[in-house]
Amino acid sequence: MNPLKGKPNMDQQAQDRALVEAVLAGDPSAYRGLVERYQRRVYALVCGMVRDKEDARDITQEAFVKAYNNLNRFRLESSFYTWLYRIAMNLSIDHIRKFKKRRHSEFDEGIASYGADGELHSGHDLGNASRELERKQLHGKILDALDKLSPDHKQIILLREVEGFSYKEIADALEVAEGTVMSRLFYARRKLQAALKSERD
């Protein structure tokens, strides 16, 4: 039993299929239902991949447009979300390869905070920060550690930990064997732990 969010349930899948069929039948406005249902989920995952909100918004939008333009290639018996997710992740990976340098500097600014003296401190300088601030710092560090993973490792971690996909669902989404999912996820976790440890040190 998957305790996390997982894929859309059967009712949702049937609704998705009906909306896709409506779009394919000539009603483009039916696509709105699909956009509004999944925009936030896709955006959150893309955010996890690219670590830049503006870019994440653009990529999410592009993913929906690309999915719309290729809707006739979508297999109705599949999950629309899994298909959309794959498009979004591929766009994210392309983006990461193009703009990797920029992301690091922006993210470091993102975890900086204002101290009690009103001065801007980097997230790593706040030795006496409040608990909330410490938690925020921890989140910053874990996202920073995530950012150090390869796109494939990042993707599989997000699919499992954030989307709650089962190994089989991940295997379907990435079109790899379940054994691959298991080992890749294991390595991704190990790398993430190491990166997090390095961030903490």
Binding site: S29, A44, T60, V65, K100, K101, H139, S150, G179
Partner: protein, 315 residues
């Protein structure tokens, strides 16, 4: 590029344990290959302008799509255990595997800690991402609609007939409401419970009488005059052996009587009470004498005795 190159890529990616690394480096020309791969990685990083590159994943995925992941080739006995721990956290082990893992965990608290660490890391990652994006506004339909060529993103096909029906219904409803507004208000007012009818408006003539009463009531000599009247009447009754009123009754035992029909004292009293925020009570003393007890908001009650003979009301 052969299997050893692929395995060495994992060494470069930091995904092999020290033991695995040592075993691989013992093989043939492993060190030379490793140096070559390191140079390749540096060149790729430079040309792609990236900080890091995952050789085993990125290059092998590009060169050999569908190739089985090399991680499987590196799984040692210990790695197998760690893999199963990871899968145990995800609930992906079979029943038999779970039982075996349960027995193992019972005597290996370090592995329990490792499982807890994996689960905690996942939770923290979820929370971090959720908090990082929870306040972000993500309303993409307008932009998506524009990109896919929809002129009016808010347009809903099939809405026009429904909108027309709704417009007509609203217009009809509005017309009915305007025409029947007065009747409706009256019906509502009549349906409301109302214990007493409101007093009739005061005419000019009555207003003059009221004005006279007001002057009397407002006179500073009034209390003294009232007391004098009471004394005179009581004394008079004693002298003519008529029934003597022992005392002026208190307000709470006072008996209200109806005013004679030919004197509209009720209206005057009501108006006075309304103007001065006072209570007026009438006490029967005699057929022709009306005693009024006026209880002001403050101070002692005021007694008025009015002779209501044929000549009219006199004080």
């Amino acid at each position: 590029m052969d299997l050893l190159d692929v395995l060495l890529m994992r060494v470069l990616d930091g995904e092999a344990s020290d033991e695995e690394r040592a075993r691989l480096l013992e093989l043939g020309d492993a060190e030379e290959r490793l140096a070559r791969l390191e140079a390749l990685r540096a060149e790729l990083k430079s040309s792609l302008e990236v900080d890091d590159i995952d050789l085993s994943d990125d290059i092998m995925a590009a060169l050999s799509p569908g190739l089985a992941p090399v991680e499987d080739e590196l799984v040692t006995e210990d790695l197998g255990l760690e893999l199963r721990l990871s899968a145990m956290v995800d609930g992906e082990l079979s029943g038999e595997e779970r039982l075996a893992m349960g027995e193992h965990l019972a005597s290996n608290p370090d592995d329990v800690d490792q499982m807890t660490a994996i689960a905690d890391m996942g939770r923290q990652l979820r929370e971090a991402l959720r908090l990082d994006t929870k306040n972000d506004e993500v309303e993409l339909w307008g932009a998506v609609a524009e990109s896919i060529g929809i002129e009016d993103p808010e347009h809903v096909p099939g809405w026009e007939p429904a909108a027309e029906i709704l417009r007509e219904a609203l217009a009809e409803e509005a017309a009915l409401s305007a025409a029947d507004e007065g009747k409706l208000t009256a019906a509502i007012m009549n349906a409301l419970p109302r214990p007493e009818p409101l007093p009739e408006p005061v005419t000019e003539e009555e207003s003059a009488v009221v004005g006279g009463w007001r002057q009397i009531f407002l006179s500073p000599a009034l209390p003294a005059l009232a007391a004098l009247c009471i004394a005179v009447i009581l004394l008079g009754r004693v002298f003519v052996n008529e029934e003597v009123v022992e005392s002026i009754p208190e307000a709470e035992v006072a008996m209200a009587v109806e005013a004679p029909e030919d004197v509209d004292t009720a209206t005057a009293d009501d108006v006075y009470a309304m103007v001065h925020d006072a209570e007026v009570e009438e006490l029967e003393m005699d057929d022709d004498v009306l005693v009024q007890v006026i209880q002001m908001d403050e101070g002692a009650p005021l007694f008025l005795m009015i002779d209501e003979g044929d000549e009219g009301a006199t004080l």
